[in-house]
């Protein structure tokens, strides 16, 4: 009887050991995907614990992008004369064109009506130079301002030198300011970029996401990296709009989509040939 009891004990103990070893193998580092998922899950939990809210569906799929380049030039300076429907002037100091309509432009009452009318307005060459190359960006717009960002075949450009901002009051166009970075072209071949989730988790681990904040939008676009030999170099970046839940202030942060580093203020290198 004792022998049988011991045998049962052995059986139960070894079944438990097998269960433990099985779980250990299942959690084995050989299964790289599981490790990644586990890390992602941990970071998500930690972020929740810190009161950081994320959009519902942040993709963990890698994307692709180019290094782009454009020549530094005053592209808008000789466009002032073509804007026959506007009173326009160009300031060389900040490379900005400012224009007010010669006749009243009524845009509508609701924001969607206004955006639709502005889309038509900007596509007329007498109104806006290079207007077809600009796309509405709600995340950069305010109550009275409607921002359009310069868009290339490679993607949207998010830079102070590539934006068209309309000021609208009481449903009427007051004025607009415009900058234009120039036509862009790839410098090197297409390369893979990190995923949106990778960018957000990098920001969190680098302490770039404050407690009690909320990510309101996440987009892949091009940001200026540097100026080299008179060429502006742009690179794909994850643009993360972060809202402070207490003050409701929104900050735009950027993550280099090639190497995951946080992009600080643009740096200019001088490598002119001697």
């Amino acid at each position: 009887m004792d022998h049988k009891r011991i045998e049962w004990l052995f059986f139960v103990v070894f079944v438990l050991i097998n269960l433990y070893l099985g779980i250990e193998i299942w959690r084995s580092p050989v299964r790289l995907n599981d490790a990644t998922t586990k890390t992602n899950a941990n970071i998500r939990t930690e972020m929740q614990g810190d009161g950081i809210e994320l959009p519902r569906n942040i993709s963990d799929k890698i994307d692709a992008g180019y290094y782009l380049a454009t020549k530094e030039a005053n592209y808008l300076s000789d466009k002032v004369g073509t804007l026959t429907a506007m009173n326009a002037e160009y300031a060389k100091g900040n490379s900005t064109l400012t224009a007010t309509p010669k006749m009243t432009v009524t845009l509508g009452k609701t924001p969607s009506e206004i955006v639709a009318r502005l889309n038509k307005f900007k596509n007329v060459s007498a109104n806006v130079a290079y207007g077809h190359q600009f796309t509405y960006e709600a995340n950069l717009s305010g109550d009275d301002t409607y921002a359009f960002v310069q868009t290339s075949t490679y993607g949207r450009i998010y830079d102070d030198n590539a934006v068209l901002t309309f000021t609208v009051r009481s449903g009427r166009l007051v004025m607009y300011t415009q900058t234009y970075i120039g036509p862009v072209r790839p410098v090197r071949e297409l390369q893979s970029t990190i995923s949106g989730w990778h960018a957000v988790s990098t920001m969190y681990t680098d302490q770039e996401l404050a407690n009690n904040s909320k990510i309101v939008a996440l987009k892949l676009g091009y940001s200026k990296m540097t100026v080299v030999r008179g060429s502006v170099i742009l690179l794909p970046s994850w643009l993360v709009w972060v809202e402070n839940k207490e003050t409701k202030n929104i900050t735009l942060k950027r993550v280099n989509a090639f190497n995951g580093q946080i992009l600080q203020a643009n740096t200019t290198y001088s490598v002119e040939k001697n």
């Binding site: 049988k4 045998e7 049962w8 052995f10 059986f11 070894f14 079944v15 050991i17 097998n18 070893l21 099985g22 250990e24 193998i25 084995s28 580092p29 050989v30 890698i62 692709a64 290094y67 380049a69 790839p186 410098v187 090197r188 071949e189 297409l190 390369q191 893979s192 990190i194 990778h198 990098t202 990296m225 540097t226 080299v228 030999r229 060429s231 170099i233 090639f258 190497n259 995951g260 580093q261 290198y269 490598v271 002119e272 040939k273 001697n274």
Partner: protein, 439 residues
């Protein structure tokens, strides 16, 4: 009743024995798992991956693509679409099955190379099937490939091994290579070539002179402390300066990092990790070397597998599909798995910002001229293992961190890569010794 009792006892005996045997098997499996062993023996909690760590698929990507147009075999390259990346993004999702050998004949292999219906994706050197999927276990001599033949079907892939002339057929599912075929058909660079066999397989032979672009980059070099921290950690690290002004950092008896002297422009580091005696299979060497690539912490954006020589695996940056040599014979990173240690040699140059192409080009002679030059220098044709076009990294005098990538021929002979110019100045006495060793 007695029968039932005996039957129950027997079942208990069998179940207990099975549970004990299963425990032993699971225990053996865990203790012989390399990854687990490495993790257990890791002396310091060093972060192995960087924020740019790339997957095994990205590191072991095909680097050249070939196809036919107007009845001629051509090397295809497209500036707008990265053909290799397009392939890898699909290949990652492929449900692979066990490959079947369909030919071992050299004539059949050559026919396949010249089949105008196929696209060819060439890897820089042989890889094993189990590198991508551990379940694809093949018998000895039938485990490696370095070329994929892509037909019009999305259900079949053909794999080829240049060295052995073996062609494998693999049934696949869940992928669509239509985009890749479309991009390849419209590739903006379609240079006519032919394949010529050397000792290690088929090399690209340019029948006419080719003009290649010179590219420039702004580069950065991580500080010594970065590599010390990544490879040895931050606690209990000791340092010792030797007579060449090189500093060796050590962590216990098992980890050493030799950093170059600050007084020179040398950027070459050597890390050695001593471990238990082990002999690794080719797949283990390929897979384990990825761990060290990540651990060193270089920028992996352009880094790919370059060459495999037994226990030596090398990786380097590929710019526009062309491998970069940091000097006239070395590439960015080399892992060497010895029986009692792993040695990692690497150069700290990270490509940071590409400079727009300024129109500079280099004209390279036809490949036949290279072969003739080598033969005139006393190197027999049978000794030539591979001939490729690579970039040699040259500093630009106008700026400290500006480098130029100048295209030139690189040739592998006696297990060594060198530029054609370097082989021209090669020491015959040393060479004859190297030849003997190689043979």
């Amino acid at each position: 009743m007695k029968f039932k009792k005996d039957y129950g006892d027997l079942l208990l005996h069998i179940a207990t024995t099975a549970a004990i045997l299963l425990s032993i098997l699971l225990w053996i499996f865990i203790m012989t798992s390399d990854q687990r062993f490495n993790r257990i023996n890791q002396p310091t909690a060093v972060k192995t991956s960087t924020r740019t760590s790339r997957s095994l698929y990205d590191l072991y990507a095909p680097t050249s693509l070939y196809g036919f147009k107007d009845g001629r075999l051509r090397q295809l390259y497209d500036e707008r679409h990265n053909l290799s990346l397009e392939f890898i993004n699909e290949f990652k999702t492929v449900k692979l099955s066990l490959p079947r050998v369909i030919s071992t004949n050299s004539l059949a292999y050559q026919r396949r190379l010249n089949d105008s219906r196929l696209l060819q994706l060439a890897f820089p050197d042989q890889l094993t099937f189990t590198t991508f999927d551990k379940k694809l276990v093949m018998r000895s001599g039938y485990r490696e490939f370095n070329r994929i033949f892509l037909s019009a079907s999305n259900k079949i892939l053909y794999f080829g091994n240049d060295k052995t002339n073996i062609i494998y057929k693999m049934n696949i599912s869940g992928v669509n290579f239509s985009k890749l075929r479309q991009y390849a058909a419209n590739a903006n660079s379609q240079v006519p070539i032919r394949f010529v066999r050397f000792k290690d397989g088929y090399s690209v032979y340019y029948q006419n002179a080719v003009r290649e672009k010179v590219y420039s980059y702004l580069v950065i070099h991580q500080a010594d402390s970065y590599f010390v921290s990544r490879l040895l950690g931050t606690a209990s690290v000791s340092s010792k300066v030797n007579k060449d002004n090189q500093t060796t950092y050590s962590l216990n008896y098992y980890n050493r990092l030799r950093v170059p002297s600050r007084e020179t422009n040398d950027r070459n580091y050597v890390y050695v990790h001593y471990q238990k005696n082990s002999v690794l299979s080719p797949t283990q060497v390929l897979r384990d070397s990825v761990y060290y690539v990540h651990r060193v912490g270089l920028n992996e954006q352009d880094m790919h597998f370059f060459d495999a020589d037994g226990s030596n695996i090398t990786y380097t940056n590929y710019i526009e599909g062309i491998p970069v040599f940091i000097d006239d014979r070395n590439v960015q990173l080399k892992t060497n798995f010895l029986t009692d240690s792993v040695r990692v040699q690497f150069n700290s140059t990270n490509f940071q910002i590409p400079i727009p192409f300024d129109g500079r080009t280099e004209t390279l002679p036809p490949t036949q001229t290279v072969v003739e030059t080598l033969m005139n220098r006393g190197i027999s044709r049978d000794s030539i293992q591979k001939i490729i076009v690579g970039f040699i990294l040259q500093n630009d005098n106008s700026h400290a961190n500006l480098i130029n990538l100048v295209p030139t021929y690189f040739v592998k002979v006696y297990g060594q890569w060198r530029t054609l110019a370097s082989w021209k100045n090669w020491n015959m006495t040393y060479g004859s010794n190297a030849q003997k060793e190689a043979n």
